[in-house]
């Protein structure tokens, strides 16, 4: 499983790189955002691989890691940005005294 996990992580890195090229990275992430996308891709692919192993068996885990990583980099990046903005707006509400 160690080799498979490494494979999924590498696959996730590649998907993160593709997501950078596809400009899926939120503009607010700045320069370091590229690395965050790579890390996000690797992490989500790893989680997807493990989830696939548990749900369908190791034979289909790589395919599961693939689509979960693509969905992850496309949706999670936006979700993170949205949560960040929401937290900022929430903390910016003036407290009435």
């Amino acid at each position: 499983m160690l080799i498979l996990s490494l494979l999924w992580a590498v696959l996730g890195l590649l998907i993160g790189a593709l997501a950078n090229a596809a400009k899926l990275r939120p503009a607010t992430w700045g320069r370091g955002g590229r690395l965050v996308m790579l890390g996000l891709g690797a992490l989500v692919a790893l989680l997807g691989g493990w989830l696939g192993t548990w749900m369908f068996g190791a034979l289909f885990a790589t395919a599961t890691a693939l689509w979960i990583a693509v969905l992850g980099v496309a949706l999670l990046s936006r979700l993170i940005t949205w949560c960040n903005a929401w937290l900022h707006s929430w903390s910016a509400v003036p407290i009435k005294t």
Binding site: I3, L4, I15, L18, A19, A21, A22, K23, L24, G52, W54, M55, F56, G57, A58, L59, F60, A61, T62, A63, T64, A65, L66, W67, I68, V70, L71, V73, A74
Partner: protein, 411 residues
């Protein structure tokens, strides 16, 4: 101003220069987006949809069959295999089972495992490397594989009573931990198709057999004897020479031996031994000692009277003819419910290709669902070594289709 003078630079539009890299950058972005969309669809198809999972399985299994060993991706992603050998008792005698199963519990999706009952041909083939490789590769893919053997089959005899062994194995597998009782199929090789057909036609299990697949099987012993006697087969209206291998003649001689006297049996054993090469024919004096029934059968197997094949077939005794009918899968085809996959090599040296064609004709007549594929990568039931690229691509794609269909049951 002559022609060699440099032309004055034209007025450059700064906007056009800036637009070119931007257009390239846009194209790269679109390509990346399209690649991601493609990977998303591919990943979803191969993991979420039964057809996709079956295709993944067959795509990993195909190289294992073609190179006769498990490829690295299958070893890496497949389950570890657990092997055990069991013996069941049935009305027709002991049933020997070699079980190859995944060592891990079945995943939640699709739930229960698929199981395949393998019926190898005549002889004890349990240790044949290609059969072991097939069984292990399937088990790595999450399929429980059971190789069935009987004393008669190990003794190179074909018996319709051995169909009971397949029924026993089927019922045994229905209660095997992790196996889904609706996902049990039967794969038979060579003369093992009789046992498979008789078993699959049994009223106790016939509605639950998921599929039947025959590689290098036969359908009618009488027409098989005709081909053996003529040493020729008719393919697409053309008569082609065809030579049986010594094992065929040995099996055909042994299978009917119970109907012959001991002296006839002895002479037939002498004429058709289990050897790598054909034995010399019996002398005229030895032939004269044979009963009329055995003599007609001898000439059919020896192939020394190709012009009298029909007469020799007609000369067989009624019990012999009844036995030949009983030994023909053709007699039980009407009782089978499962879809049948027919696979046969065009130059099969053991069971002539015409048997598969007759099988297909019989199934068409019965309106039975089936598919039939002719190959050139097999030598009877084993994959040939040193295949060229054209064979791998042509026959590989056909085999991939059959494997996907078989593995769809458990995907």
């Amino acid at each position: 101003m002559d022609g060699h003078q440099l032309a004055l630079p034209k007025e450059i539009d700064p906007g056009a220069l800036a637009a070119r890299p931007q257009r390239t950058w846009k194209l790269g972005q679109r390509v990346a987006q399209a690649t991601l969309a493609l990977l998303l669809c591919l990943g979803c198809f191969l993991s979420l949809f039964p057809w996709g999972r079956a295709l993944t399985r067959s795509a990993l299994l195909l190289p294992a069959l073609l190179i006769a060993s498990a490829p690295a991706p299958l070893v890496l992603t497949g389950d570890p295999v657990h092997f055990r050998r069991l013996t069941l008792s049935s009305a027709s005698g002991p049933v020997f089972l070699d079980i190859y199963e995944p060592a891990t519990p079945p995943p939640p999706i699709p739930g229960g495992r698929e199981a395949i009952i393998d019926v190898p041909g005549a002889g004890d083939n349990r240790a044949v490397p290609q059969l072991v490789n097939l069984s292990q590769s399937l088990a790595r893919e999450g399929v429980v594989v059971v190789n069935v053997g009987t004393p008669a089959l190990f003794d190179y005899r074909v018996s319709a009573r051995d169909g009971e062994a397949v029924v026993q194995a089927f019922e045994f597998l229905q209660h095997w931990p992790g196996v889904d009782r609706q996902r049990i199929g039967i794969l038979a090789f060579s003369v093992g198709d009789l046992m498979a057909c008789v078993g699959a036609g049994d009223p106790h299990i016939r509605d639950r057999v998921a599929f039947l697949a025959f590689l290098g099987g036969y359908v009618d012993v009488t027409s098989l004897l005709g081909t053996v006697g003529r040493r020729a087969q008719d393919v697409a209206g053309q008569t082609q020479p065809w030579q049986p291998i010594p094992t065929d003649l040995y099996v055909l001689a042994r299978t009917v031996s119970s109907l012959l006297s001991s002296s006839d049996q002895q002479l037939l054993r002498k004429a058709f031994p289990l050897a790598a090469t054909l034995a010399p024919p019996l002398s005229a004096q030895q032939q004269a000692q044979l009963s009329p029934d055995a003599a007609a059968y001898y000439h059919l197997l020896e192939g020394n009277e190709p012009g009298r094949v029909n007469r020799n077939l007609a000369a067989l005794s009624p019990p012999m003819k009844a036995l030949l009918t009983q030994l023909s899968p053709l007699s039980v085809l009407g009782q089978i419910r499962a879809r049948i996959h027919l696979l046969h090599d065009r130059t099969d040296p053991s069971i002539p290709f015409t048997q598969a064609q007759e099988f297909a004709v019989a199934l068409t007549r019965l309106h039975h669902p089936y598919d039939f594929a002719a190959y050139s990568i097999f030598s009877h039931v084993q994959v040939q070594s040193n295949l060229d690229l054209e064979q791998v691509l042509g026959d590989g794609s056909k085999l991939l289709g059959v494997l996907t269909s078989m593995l769809l049951v458990g995907s």
